[in-house]
Amino acid sequence: MIAGVDERSRIVITGIGLASPNGNNLAEFRESLLAGRSGVRPYEIRYVGKTVAGVCGFDELRYQKRKDLRRGTRAGSVGIYCANEALLDSGIDWANVDKSAVGIYIGVTEHGNVETENEIYELKGFDYDTQFWSHHHNPRTVANNPAGEISLGLGITGPHYTIGAACAAGNAGIIQGAQMLRLGECDVALAGGVSESIHTFGIFASFKSQGALASHADAQRASRPFDVDRNGIVVAEGGCIYVLERYADAKRRGARIHGEIAGYAMNSDASDFVLPNAERQAQCVAKALERAGLNADQVDIVSTHATGTASGDEQECAALRRVFGDSPRTSFNNAKSFIGHTMGAAGALELAGNLPAFSDKVCHATINVDQLDPECALAGLVINEPREQKQVDVILNNSFGMLGINSVVIVKRI
């Protein structure tokens, strides 16, 4: 529990629903992470052409009709799938849950680019005459869309909104959910993040112009954080939503608990639009540890944010060295090497992939490291093969984003 927080305010994870490029639920995702199975594949998108991406294969029609898919957005669809899966996983008696006491807090890196690009593309065929602009544009592109679609899909009448937090958004969604539970704004929180980013050419083109879009002859080898030959980000779609509850409520209904939110922190670099800041990242990690009442050497696994850019990976490793020194107990890994960068979902998804370690005591690896960059040579970095650990009681999850937004979530075994 967060140091100083009373017993009634302890927040736990009781359900996990996810859509990853290499798994459609936690069991599949974890199995892929332990087996070294990538979800990155060749991909082609308007104007940019051939590239690579992390593409999801979840069953869209499991919780939606074809009409729902036509009406809504990909981000909404990812969110609806993950939310339904999370509620099923939680074992909560959904039919008898007070839907007005459920809050939906969904992190997004961006929203609206996909629909806007599609509409402009369509409008080009009408010589840019705006009388042919869709009436669906606004409801699809309002910033709360992915959370709102979950509300509509599940009949949830409590608060819903998205948290725009660049690539720190997955963690930010979890933090928001935990805070709202502690404030008593809801009794059940659906919290996490989603990404539809592979459907906007703009994100690929912008990373390419920035010199930060990964390329490799073998798509599955393109995402290679910490490798000396890394050359950028693999854009991915996905989602991960948690059911969060107060510990007392979860215990009362005999829920299975995936872990307790032990601490969290967010801060800002205030130094650059795109370049990371190791000092601020280290401060964010240290603050989360302090709030959790933990020392760095009590952390078993650090799920790194590293995206495969030259500077980003180095800066994060510098930050982690500053906080963790040569902590013998701490292992470091990276899920983006398997699935690419799932943007708004990344924080939530990457944390989820590590949570089964509380029971199997295995730290999944960072794959695609052929030659470790000396600047990224953290002592506990788990490279290419999973590592069995003596114990896994504490997992720390980093997630950072553009404009200098940093987030850290710490989860404790319970």
């Binding site: 009709k65 074809r66 009409k67 036509r70 009406r71 009408f126 009388q131 042919f132 869709s134 009436h135 669906h136 409801p139």
Partner: protein
């Protein structure tokens, strides 16, 4: 376009708007809303599709004319009689 062809166009548009529905038993003289799950955004889709495909302009005051298949075809016939089916 003949009334039969106009009806075929409307059915084609409805298939896109209501992909989960079976349109084979649609009754021409019963309001579409009583037979299909259609809301105001769906009716705007009908209006937009007609505008995109045939440049047919339907003023908002005339949306009530789209209540049934028969009323829709009757309303559109004078506007679309000289158009070729796309």
């Amino acid at each position: 376009m003949t009334p039969v062809e106009i009806k075929a166009v409307i059915l084609d548009i409805l298939e896109g708007i209501a992909p989960d529905e079976d349109l084979s038993d649609l009754k021409d003289d019963v309001p579409l809303r009583e037979q299909l799950e259609l809301d105001s955004m769906d009716f705007l889709d009908i209006v937009m599709e007609l505008r995109k495909r045939y440049r047919v302009q339907i003023p908002e005051d005339d949306y009530v004319q789209l209540a049934t298949m028969n009323s829709t075809v009757n309303y559109l016939s004078p506007m679309m009689k000289d158009l070729e089916k796309a």
